[in-house]
């Protein structure tokens, strides 16, 4: 059970300051637009929080371009906005004494990079993507039995809890997804993805306990994933480095993103 409520709260409240600017070549008006600043929740998704950014910049781009889809760029690369914001930050910016905050994101309205990023031009599409991840996580944890036994209103409550930044509303339902069922005190498999520096991720079926019934730790997971270099890597998630002896089951219950996956970045 996800019992350490302070941790869940702390994770939920993580925010990142972002500075948005419009790509200079796309400015059509004589006057350059002001930058736009936003404090965004780490657990949310960019397409859910950038309505105001779009409204701010769209009047500066050519009229025949403004029906085009907005997209975001960081450091010359399109931002894969189907990933949660906190994961993107850990992946693209990382950690260190100089994070260069606020995070500088460039806004585009032209040449949507359609082969590289998802078209998430409606909240329904983001919701469908989110629910698909949540279902997949439940397939790994409980053979999908919890999600499929839930009612539509529970699904809606999860989604609106996330969308409206309502911790209690979200966790009232998510708690059920974090429960262990029946005789065992752990999930079947741990839903996780581990990302390398190039932004590619790996998944694997990893159980939270060993064949002897011992609780596995983050270190065991790294050994299973990268037997040759497990000792030389660190894992970054939610802007912090969890100790290598953290039990996987506890991590899954407390450090998963709202999509119920652990998103771990290799450093």
């Amino acid at each position: 059970m996800a019992n350490d409520r302070e941790i869940l709260r702390e994770i939920w409240e993580g925010k990142i300051p972002v500075r948005f600017t419009l790509y200079p070549d796309e400015v059509y008006e004589l006057q350059q637009p002001d930058e736009f600043y936003l404090m965004v929740p780490r657990l949310s998704y960019f397409p859910l929080v950038i309505d105001k950014v779009k409204k701010h910049f769209i009047r500066y781009v050519s009229n025949d371009k403004n029906d085009q889809e907005m997209w975001l760029e960081y450091d010359g690369q399109p931002v894969k906005w189907h990933f949660p914001i906190g994961l993107l930050f850990d992946l693209l910016v990382g950690t260190g004494p100089d994070l260069g905050l606020p995070w500088h994101i460039v806004v585009h309205f032209e040449k949507f990079p359609e082969t590289q990023i998802f078209r998430l031009n409606s909240k329904d599409l983001v919701e469908a993507h989110f629910m698909a991840c949540l279902k997949e996580a439940d397939v790994l944890k409980h053979r999908g039995q919890i999600v499929s036994s839930m009612q539509k209103k529970d699904h809606n409550q999860l989604w609106s809890g996330l969308q409206n930044d309502k911790f209690d509303q979200f966790w009232a339902v998510n708690r059920k997804l974090m429960e262990v069922s029946g005789e065992v005190d752990h999930f079947k498999y741990i839903p996780f993805r581990i990302y390398d520096i190039e932004g590619f991720y790996k998944q694997k079926l990893v159980k939270p306990v060993s064949d002897e019934g011992q609780r596995k730790t983050l270190n065991d997971l790294l050994m299973e994933m990268y037997p040759k270099r497990a000792t030389s890597v660190k894992v970054l998630t939610h802007g912090m480095f969890p100790p290598l002896n953290t039990p996987l089951q506890w991590m899954s219950e407390h450090l998963s993103y709202p999509d119920n996956f652990l998103h771990l970045c290799l450093v």
Partner: protein
């Protein structure tokens, strides 16, 4: 449920038959790595006097333990069809569309239109008598997205 070993075995079998039939399926990616390879075929098709190129990929879904069919459709200028355009080309107009969404291709990790795998597992149980459940599944669900397998493939099921 299929594990990765079974999936790749069925994949190779289908590829061999495709070679005999000159049907154009290729195995791409890294065959030695778990969930590293997939089956791919490009199919040109005329639609309303425009030439479209359908790129079909049969990939493995590790979490569900099932195959997944994903595709993208390109115009001759290299641009991709969007969801509503695909729905029109495939003749789905007016039907619920959320069975077809963009998902990350498990190997390429780029967006592909994908038939959601949540029902595939039930379907795979249904094909459990087949010698090649992958081919049975693909010949059944392929036509919904315009992919028809030749009758000759039935010899491996």
């Amino acid at each position: 449920m299929l594990d990765w070993e079974e999936f790749s075995k069925h994949l190779s079998q289908m590829k061999s038959l495709s070679d005999e039939l000159l049907d154009g399926w290729a195995i791409l990616g890294k065959t030695g790595t778990e969930n590293g390879a997939y089956l791919a075929k490009k199919v040109p098709r005329l639609f309303e006097e425009a030439l479209l190129l359908f790129e079909y990929n049969v990939v493995y879904d590790l979490s569900y333990g099932v195959p997944k069919l994903c595709f993208n459709v390109f115009r001759t200028d290299g641009s991709m069809l969007q969801l509503n355009e695909c729905i029109h080309v495939l003749g789905f107009d007016g039907e619920p569309v959320l069975v077809l969404t963009q998902m990350d291709h498990p190997v390429l990790q780029r967006p592909f239109f994908t038939l959601h795998p949540c029902k595939t597992s039930e379907f795979m149980d249904f094909c459990s008598n087949s010698k090649n459940p992958l081919v049975s599944w693909l010949s059944a669900i392929g036509p919904t997205v315009g992919l028809n397998l030749a009758n000759e493939y039935s010899q491996c099921t």
